[in-house]
Every structure is written in C-alpha cells, then in structure tokens.
C-alpha cells in the first residue's frame, strides 16, 4: 500500500470516528441541546469523509447546508419551543416507544439498501474542475428534478412567510 493511500485510510477512519462519536452523543445525551451539538459533530464528520474522498463540493455543501443552516434551525426550534433557561432540557417525550420502532425500521431499510446495492467504484478520478460540470448537468440532464426541487423550496418559503405574517 503506498503512503498516500494509507493516509487516505487514516483520514477516513478518523473522520468516521468523529461522525460516530457525534451520533452517539446525539442519541445518548440527556440534554436536548447537547444532543443537537452531537448531531452537528456527526455532520462535520460526514463532511470530513467527503473531503477524504476528494468530493470537495459535496463536503462544502454538506457544511453549508447541514452545519450552517439545518443545525441552526434545530437550535432555533429548541430555543423557541422549550423552557431554555431551565437546567434540564429532556431529550425524550411520551412518544419515545414509537420513535424507537420507526428508527429501527429506518435502520433496517437503510441497511438493506446498503447491502443489496451493487456499489460501483470509479477507477479513475474525473479530470478538471468539477463545478462547471455539475452546473451543466443540473441545467441539462437533471433539469426537471432541479426545477421541481426549486418549486418545492419556493413553496416552503412562501408558506413560511404566510405563517410568520399571522
């Protein structure tokens, strides 16, 4: 095994460990805000894995959207719905049994997909700057899904404004 590949393995395992540790904190923490911090750590770990795999664009988008936006949204939701100044912010409510059931179901489904899919490894790195290629693909091959997602987001945006106005 050559040194760069060995380093890639090291990077992968370090980042995977970070993501897993974050996941354990997110599930196990008793305080909901600490669980949110664990989730952020897990998301950063996943972004790190993308970096190790040289998918820089995906990694940065992961940080931008999940760490920068979604986690802020979660923190805001916690802040607006709970008594934040109380000492304990419980991470559970009465529906935890249903939550466990659904989580197991989801885990089983993901596991099935991960095992049954025939993962194709790309032997050679795609040459050149990938961002123009991603842009071109979005505007040609994947135009319809792209527009559908934009419309969905626009609807969400308008809906948020309407709710905020009331």
């Amino acid at each position: 095994m050559s040194t760069p590949i060995a380093l890639t393995y090291v990077g992968f395992f370090v980042m995977a460990a970070v993501a897993l540790a974050g996941g354990f904190i997110a599930v196990g923490a008793r305080n909901i805000l600490r669980a949110a911090i664990g989730l952020i750590l897990a998301l950063v770990g996943v972004a790190g894995i993308y970096f190790v795999l040289e998918a820089e664009f995906v990694a940065v988008v992961q940080i931008l959207i999940y760490v920068g936006a979604i986690s802020i949204l979660i923190l805001f939701a916690v802040m607006l719905t709970r008594g934040l100044m109380k000492r304990d912010l419980p991470a559970q409510n009465a529906q935890w049994i249903a939550a466990v059931f659904i989580s197991l179901l989801l885990f089983a489904a993901l596991l099935y997909v991960a095992i049954s899919t025939n993962w194709r490894a790309v032997e050679t790195k795609v040459a050149g700057d990938l961002i123009p290629k991603i842009g071109t693909e979005l505007m040609t091959t994947y135009l319809l899904p792209f527009e559908a997602v934009s419309l969905l987001l626009l609807a969400a945006l308008v809906g948020a404004i309407v709710i905020a106005r009331e």
Binding site: S2, T3, P4, L7, N31, L33, R34, I37, I40, E56, F57, V60, V61, I63, L64, V67, G68, A69, S71, I72, L75, F76, M79, L84, M85, R87, D129, L130, I131, P132
Partner: protein, 365 residues
C-alpha cells in the same frame, strides 16, 4: 525586482529542498518521503498563518484604539512602547492572568466549547486566501463556497455561548446575533454570484488571476454597473455579519450589557474578542480578493498591494464604526431583507444581462 516579488514563494521552495536534503540520509521510500515533507510543510504553513493572524490582530486592535482616539479628539494608548505600539501585547499578558469565571448555573461544557467554536471558522478561512502571487496555503476549486460554508459555523458558537451562560442578557444577545448573522449571510452570498459568473470559477486564485488585466488595475469593482453595487453590498453585509458598530446589536452595551459575551472572562472572553477581530480582518481580505483585485496592481510587489488594500478596507470599517450610531433591531432586519437582498438579486440579473458588455471590456473569460 523579481527577487522581491517572489521572496516568499522562493523561500517556501528552499525550505522544501532543505528538508529533502536533511531526509536524504535516511533512505526512505520515495513516496513516504514526499508525504512526510508535505506533512511538515503543511504544519509549518499552519504555524506561519497562526502567527500572522495574531500579529494582524494585535496591529488591528492598536489601530482601532488609536483611530477611535483620533476621531474622538483624544490621544489613545501612548504609554507602553513607542506610540503605544506595545499596548496590545500588555493587554494580552493581562488576559492570560485573569481569572476564568464560570457562572454557577451555567452549562459548563457548552460554556467552554462556545469560544472555541467561534474561533474555528476564522482560522479555517485563512487557509484559502491568496496573500500574493503564488502565496496561498491551499487552492480549493470551491474557494468561495468554502469561505461561505465555514463562516456559518461561527453562528453556532455564538448561539451556544449565549445559551451556555444561563443569563437572560446572554441569551437575548445570542438570539439577536444568530438572527442577524443568518440574515446578512444571504446578501453576502448573493453578491458573490456575479463574480463567479464573470470568472467561471470559484477558486480564489483564479478570481485573482482574472483581475490582472489593464496592467493589474482591472479590478471587479470597476466592472460597471455590476461590480460597484456588489462591492458596496458585500462590504455592508460583511460589517453586519461580524457585528461592527452600526450593526453591533448582539452586544449593544446600552441595552443588553455585552450580549452573548456577558458571562465570559479571562481567556474565554479574549477568544471571543480575538475572533471578532479575525472575522473583521478576514471579511476585508475577502472583499479585497473578490472586488479589489487581490494582489494585482502595478509596480509594487503583490503582497504589498494586497495588504495595502486590506488595510484600506479595515480603516474604512473603523471610520464607519466611530461615526455612525447603532441601528434599531427592526431597522436592522428591514435593511437586510428589504434593501440589501432585493438589490443583490437585481444585481445578479443585471450581471447576466451585462455579461457580453463586460466580456467586451475583458472582465470575463
């Protein structure tokens, strides 16, 4: 002249060569040796960047105090060292020996990690800035996106600082800060779009190279009508995002004590304070890179031009801070959502329409 222009890049090459010659006696495998040298160089570059950052911040703090004094008709720090130049060093020493107070009911863990998280993005952003021709730690092909993404991490730190202190002023300050940072991020990102449109790349190095025409004066701020509008919006929203005075509601001392920093003391407080100056410095470097041509300029070496432009923007920011009163919270939000965002959106459309014209004048490749 070439020697002075390339002094930093040449010394980098020279150090690489020197380490290789040191390792030559060990008879290591070729790719292991290369990886080792690369790792050592990364480590050295990180150390240089950290020292550089600290030096810049010390100068910035001194400059801010002197400037504030001059504008308010005072003398400013003048006791420690010539013209008070060593005042920031004395302040740093003082911060080190201060007691670290954690409020009894604070969430100790959150209270401790918040300043660290606030510090992180500033350090990460320094990694992609081209400081001169060929002087960049990393050339990511997604450079700008990296800066935008990493900057959003700081928001989490501010929020956690506000929450973890278990103090109503801290929490209010934290909420204000998050709302403000999230709002002003949007016009900031929208002003970057015309630049990416013109250059066709997100790499900061490529963006700099695209501005090298007209004997180094073809800066994007001169790309009328798109450039000047984008520059002004970027600069204003950047000032707001780092919480400088017309926009310093998160820590408005006359309303909410010191906002999210209220319960911090000692080195933790110093980290918040440092991060504030790092962020201010970094948004000035990014504005200089995107709109003022980065290291491009006639006659003088690139790094001199770059630092000069950055400090011009820094001084402008200090001038604004000293001469403008603070916004009210509703004015602040209105300004972002009803003024800056619409103008930035129109500017993107304008950039699309004006692209052939800009291409004619050589702004676009």
């Amino acid at each position: 002249m070439d020697f002075i222009n390339n002094i930093f890049t040449n010394s980098y090459e020279w150090i690489v060569y020197w380490i290789h010659s040191l390792l030559a006696g060990l008879n290591l495998a070729k790719d292991f040796e290369n990886a080792l040298v690369a790792a050592i160089m990364v480590f050295l570059v990180i150390i240089v960047i950290l020292l550089w950052m600290v030096l810049m911040v010390l100068i910035l703090i001194w400059l801010e105090r002197k400037n504030a004094a001059r504008i308010q008709d005072r003398v400013g720090p003048n006791r420690v060292g010539p013209w008070g130049l060593l005042q920031p060093v004395a302040d740093t020493l003082k911060m080190f020996i201060k007691e670290d107070i954690v409020p009894e009911n604070a969430d100790r863990f959150v209270h401790t990690i918040a300043p660290m998280i606030v510090m992180m993005p500033a350090v990460l952003m320094f990694a992609v800035i081209p400081w001169g021709k060929g002087m960049f730690p990393v050339d990511l092909n997604i450079g700008i996106l990296w800066i935008v993404a990493v900057a959003s991490i700081g928001t989490i730190g501010v929020f956690l600082g506000g929450y973890g202190s278990n103090n109503k002023y801290s929490l209010l300050g934290g909420m204000r800060a998050v709302a403000q940072m999230v709002s002003y991020e949007i016009p900031q990102v929208l002003t970057i779009v015309p630049i990416v449109l013109m250059v066709g790349s997100m790499s900061l190095v490529k963006i700099n190279e695209a501005q090298s025409g007209w004997a180094g004066m073809q800066w994007f701020v001169f790309a009328i009508p798109v450039g000047p509008i984008a520059f002004v919006i970027y600069y204003l929203s950047a000032l707001a995002e780092v919480g400088r005075t017309p926009f310093d509601l998160p820590e408005g001392e006359s309303e909410i004590v010191a906002g999210y920093m209220t319960e911090y003391s000692g080195m933790k407080w110093a980290l918040f304070y440092l991060a504030e100056y790092f962020n201010f410095f970094i948004v000035c470097t990014i504005a200089a890179t995107l709109f003022l041509g980065g290291w491009n300029g006639p006659i003088l070496p690139g790094y001199v031009w770059f630092i000069g432009k950055v400090y011009a923007l820094v001084l402008l920011g200090m001038w604004i801070r000293m001469t403008w009163p603070r916004f009210r919270v509703d004015q602040l939000m209105n300004f972002a959502w009803k003024v800056l965002v619409p103008i930035a959106l129109v500017n993107i459309v304008l950039a699309g329409l004006a692209l052939p014209l800009l291409k004619y004048f050589g702004f676009s490749v």
